[in-house]
Symmetry: C2
Subunit: 187 residues, 2 copies
């Protein structure tokens, strides 16, 4: 990946998350990144493509961070406990909510701005959420049958979304801990 292109995506991701997708103009991204407009349109056909690239980056960040945390947790366990491996998600959320860089979930937010279910951006966001739930289900499959596992994963997923919204719209940064206790109660 060319460094200027990568830098554009990095900058765009931050600005989109903080200020929104429509509200963040191309010119702001260019000014903030110090890249010229011609370069942007050499790498991306449109703003929409840049949004998708930023979401792709964020998707990879979230997935790999989650995998790392689960993996680290497995190392620290004497006996493998799938439930505990899933609950690290909420510790992860807790860190995120209390960081300086928390401005809500990119995918929830972008869904709000591009609400048409057939829009590529909306589809991407939905797919991301599905991948996360699938990762949760995957962790649980060793313990239960498939049907119940998928159900539990959806419940966990619902708690994750609830915690994010609570933290973002009401500013309740401790929501991840509330959700974690509720998740524990499911097992």
């Amino acid at each position: 990946m060319q460094p200027r292109k990568q830098h554009l995506i990095d900058t765009a991701l931050i600005l989109f998350n903080q200020f929104g997708y429509h509200a963040t103009g191309i010119d702001l991204i260019l000014a903030e990144s110090g890249v010229s407009k011609a370069t942007l349109y050499k790498h991306f056909r449109s703003k929409e493509e840049l949004i998708l690239a930023a979401l792709q980056l964020r998707h990879e960040q979230v997935v790999s961070k989650l995998q790392d945390k689960i993996e680290a947790n497995k190392q620290n366990q004497e006996k493998t406990d799938p439930v505990e491996n899933v609950l690290v998600i909420f510790d992860n959320l807790n860190e995120w909510f209390n960081s300086e860089t928390f401005f809500g979930c990119n995918f929830i937010n972008v869904s709000a701005e591009y609400a048409d279910p057939n829009h590529p951006i909306n589809i991407f966001a939905a797919k991301h959420k599905q991948v996360i739930v699938n990762m949760i289900a995957e962790q649980l499959t060793t313990k239960e049958n498939n049907q119940a596992t998928q159900q539990k994963a959806d419940q966990i997923g619902l708690l994750v979304e609830g915690a994010i919204v609570m933290a973002h719209t009401r500013g309740m940064k401790q929501s991840a801990l509330i959700a974690k206790e509720m998740a524990r109660g499911l097992f």
Copy 2:
């Protein structure tokens, strides 16, 4: 309230919810409502004021609908059960998600677009969410002590947010029923 003003607010609320707040231009609202631009700016100093008026309307709709449902449920009960009175919220959500007019929660969505916690619009959205949780807490106070009640109300609130996001971003319209079962498990 002058009829044209009310009509503007009604139209704006629908369009903002469906297409987003930045993406919905003044001109679309005017074309859709058949009101002239001069009239709009006689009633509202800015688009932001119109957004706030639309949110105020939505807030009143949600609160009064919820009160009605809870009240109706109380009538149908032989013995008053606070938990059941709260759980009607999820039946309400279920209807909403499966209606033609579901495009996510106005307040979650507007928070995504106006993420600055000091922005009047963001403050309004946060206040709305707090009012709803307070209504839930109020229903539960007859049964438990205040501390535990507030905690339970936040948990219910978290499930509500989770269900809304799940229904909106993943298109899982049955999320309200999932959340309802989880809510029942809290008691």
